[in-house]
Symmetry: C2
Subunit: 235 residues, 2 copies
């Protein structure tokens, strides 16, 4: 691998948000100011990871992009995290702690991005259900090495708009929280070139609970008010 390129693992990159994230990250390689990267999709199944990588590449090709400078490969979650400098956890909260146990040793000094939202269905609406630590982000921080720099980001981004890389009319605000200033700056930079997001400094990691709780609220707003794929803007 080219050492000048940022190696980014998208664990659970076979899911809905993971898929959009992979496409948006890959496209940065075609942008003069984008953050050049190599993407490693992680999954419990190597086969599923490889399939997701191939699917992402062919989607970009189908949109007419030149993918010769784009590298997307599949690995197991453990190998993907081990090979990367940034690890993104696009995984359901109830699978997070077992996964962190499995990959813990690979996370020393890494930037770990959590877009994780613990929520449950209550009747016809969604409800935020944070762990005792107060948020998924704080629970994650408690279960990784001290040198791991946890950043909370990408919670309030509509998957549908993220995946639609060609039509990109709306620019939504994207809040980024971390206790590590350098890691926060890196993730804000990564966000700035996602094509449809404007990063905002959301403050320290403990603010993540509000960002997380916004996701079920926005799902409910869409449902209750006949809207779709909601993003958020502060102005």
């Amino acid at each position: 691998m080219n050492s000048e390129k940022l190696k980014i693992a998208v664990l659970g990159g076979t899911g809905n948000i993971g898929e959009g994230m992979v496409l948006r990250l890959a496209l940065q390689n075609l942008m003069p100011e984008g953050m050049k990267n190599e993407i490693i999709i992680g999954s419990r199944s190597l086969e599923a990871a490889n399939e997701a990588a191939e699917k992402a590449l062919s989607e970009l090709e189908n949109c007419g992009f030149d993918t010769s400078s784009i590298k997307i490969i599949g690995m197991s979650n453990f190998e993907a995290a081990k090979a990367s400098e940034i690890v993104i956890l696009t995984i359901r909260f109830d699978h997070i702690l077992p996964l962190l146990k499995e990959i813990r040793e690979t996370l020393e000094n890494k930037v770990l991005i959590s877009p994780v939202v613990p929520m449950v269905k209550e009747g016809s609406l969604m409800a935020y259900r944070p762990p005792v630590e107060g948020s998924a982000a704080l629970a994650i921080q408690k279960n990784v090495p001290e040198s791991t720099r946890v950043v909370a980001a990408f919670h309030n981004i509509p998957a549908g708009k993220l995946k639609d890389v060609v039509k990109c009319k709306a620019v939504h605000d994207a809040l980024v929280c971390s206790d590590d200033a350098e890691a926060k700056k890196l993730v804000m930079e990564l966000t700035r070139h996602m094509g449809c997001l404007k990063p905002l400094d959301g403050g320290p990691l403990k603010q993540a609970s509000t960002m997380e709780s916004l996701t079920p609220l926005m799902i409910n707003l869409a449902k209750l008010n006949g809207l779709k794929d909601l993003g958020i803007n502060f102005s």
Copy 2:
């Protein structure tokens, strides 16, 4: 008082948000589709309430509006609540429970609007500090008669923009939560004619915790990102 007009008490109407709320409500009397109302500003001090009422009227006159159809008067909190059909609590959370004890008997069958946000300063940032009930709205509901219909609304509205009744460029989303469908509909209708707000159904009252926690987040976003008087939009 004219019985066709909605009587609205703004308790704590001498404060920042209360002031903007009074102006926006009063202006509905000049709008063909606005909800015609009489406003009673409540305060611990009758003198302060009367002064706030006079100040609001003269501000509207100074802006050139014809105030002959507008009625804004001052009363004690108790009398204001007693005389009204809708009661708005624009008061700091730490004063809310003693006030509710004082005015409890006046609240039977009333619509009670809570824009209350329990928050504290932590270092240079604000932090949400909800009571054990989970939110100010739920704590309020626990401390009023069963017939009182609590509605959570007006948390995420920049006071500066609310008070500026003449310049009104931005239209922000305003979430409204309640367990009472009729009361929620009434408050959404009231919101629709505030001049700069678009009401969104936020679901049941327990969703208020997210709305409340957004306020300190938005204050922090403004501070951390060099912004001012932030509103929120979902799209």
